[in-house]
Symmetry: none
DNA sequence: CCGCGACTGTCAGTCTTTTGTAAGCCACAG
DNA sequence: CTGTGGCTTACAAAAGACTGACAGTCGCGG
């Protein structure tokens, strides 16, 4: 398992390298965006840990370039606190997972393992749920290959739910993740959005857990 | 889940309170160090969110005093951006986790949950009791894998009992933990709630200790 | 530059579920 | 037997979620 760590902070990188090699990964590290991009583009890594705040070329750009060029290695994004909008951007840009700094190394190891496992089964930025497929790169959801066209907001919602399947997501959490921080406290925007997605993908895709929130329906 | 928020900035406190209560915590707030210390010392909170810059008595001091006095409630420290020294000090003083301002409420919620779980010696989000399983992520209680659907209040009650199994929980304690502060003293809401849970999960799940309170039944 | 259509958020109305209250009954401890 | 504490049931109020209509915004083509 060959892993590339793209991180410019020496201390963090060091910690990661130690833990990951101990966990059985073969680790390499780069600290500037240009080099990271180049190596990720020309070499075969099983996974890449990508810090967004890289010098010379920022992480998100690097990621987008890789994806556009058809590079499918699983990417785990490290994002700084207080920049949670980046998460959504990152995921839309084709990241497979993200972790917020400061993090527990343990968590990185676990998630990397999961990513690699998943990637071996199905190497792409596509995630299947039920009869649907969500493609992060093209920002499309298809049913048996036929694209349903979701609007940007609708896609964000589905994307978020899919990335957190098996968990109940409260309306507040949805609001915070798919809208920009200045959200109205009493607004039924989420409910309306959910209704719109249901109208397109079918009522059962999103399950309502009254008083708790929403979750992907059974079988998705 | 009873949480104390020690924060003097009204805006931040307000945000936190809203989010945390929506996340199912029962929230109370104090803004000056003296009072915070006193309440944390004399009352039972499931977790405490502690801002370091409190008036009258600074957060670190408060924390140190609690720990010296043997108070073990999990404490999540809020610290200003980039104050690494504070972080170290805080951890040495006995903090369980810390979050840097400005933060995203979602993270606070997640970390608090993690803290509470860890504090109860439960690593995962699933807790088994008898033939039942309580899953914090899906907000479900299942019997042999079959989900019983509990309403939010019912879930809170079961959750609280499970997290404190082996102990008798008084009605007052239940009231304090699953309702927000402004509760009527003479109300049989708890009794009704208990009855409702029993109707769903079976009479034996919750045992009545006449005059004292309730506890999980034998074998749970 | 204007008008049109797509996209989103807001609002008001309605329906459903949840929750607290009240009142009377039951049962256990003394 | 008696009284307190707990249980049950029914009811009404509150909360939560859904719907359809509407209006502001934005981008595009004419």
């Amino acid at each position: 398992m060959r892993v590339l760590i793209a991180e410019d902070d020496d201390r963090i990188a060091e910690t990661l390298m130690v833990s990951l090699s101990r966990a059985g990964f073969s680790v390499e590290r780069e600290s500037d965006g240009e080099t990271v991009w180049f190596r990720g583009d020309s070499e075969a890594f099983d996974a890449i840990v990508l810090d967004l705040g890289l010098p010379q070329l920022d992480g998100l750009t690097v990621l987008k370039r890789w994806r556009r060029a058809g590079r499918t290695a699983p990417v785990l994004i490290l994002t700084a606190r207080g920049q949670w909008e980046e998460r959504v951007d990152g995921i839309e840009a084709g990241a497979d997972d993200y972790v917020v700094k400061p993090f527990h190394v343990q968590e990185i190891v676990a998630r990397l393992r999961a990513l690699v496992r998943r990637a071996n089964g199905l190497a792409s930025s596509r995630i299947a749920f039920g009869k649907y497929t969500l493609d992060l790169r093209t920002k499309e959801v298809s049913a048996d290959g036929v694209p349903m066209d979701l609007t940007p907001q609708e896609f964000k919602l589905v994307s978020y739910l899919v990335h957190h399947r098996g968990r109940v997501i409260s309306q507040l959490e949805i609001t915070e993740h798919i809208y920009n921080q200045d959200y109205e406290r009493d607004s039924n925007a989420v409910e309306v959005l959910v209704a719109r997605v249901r109208k397109r993908l079918g009522t059962d895709v999103i399950k309502t857990r009254r008083g708790f929130g929403y979750a992907l329906g059974d079988g998705y």
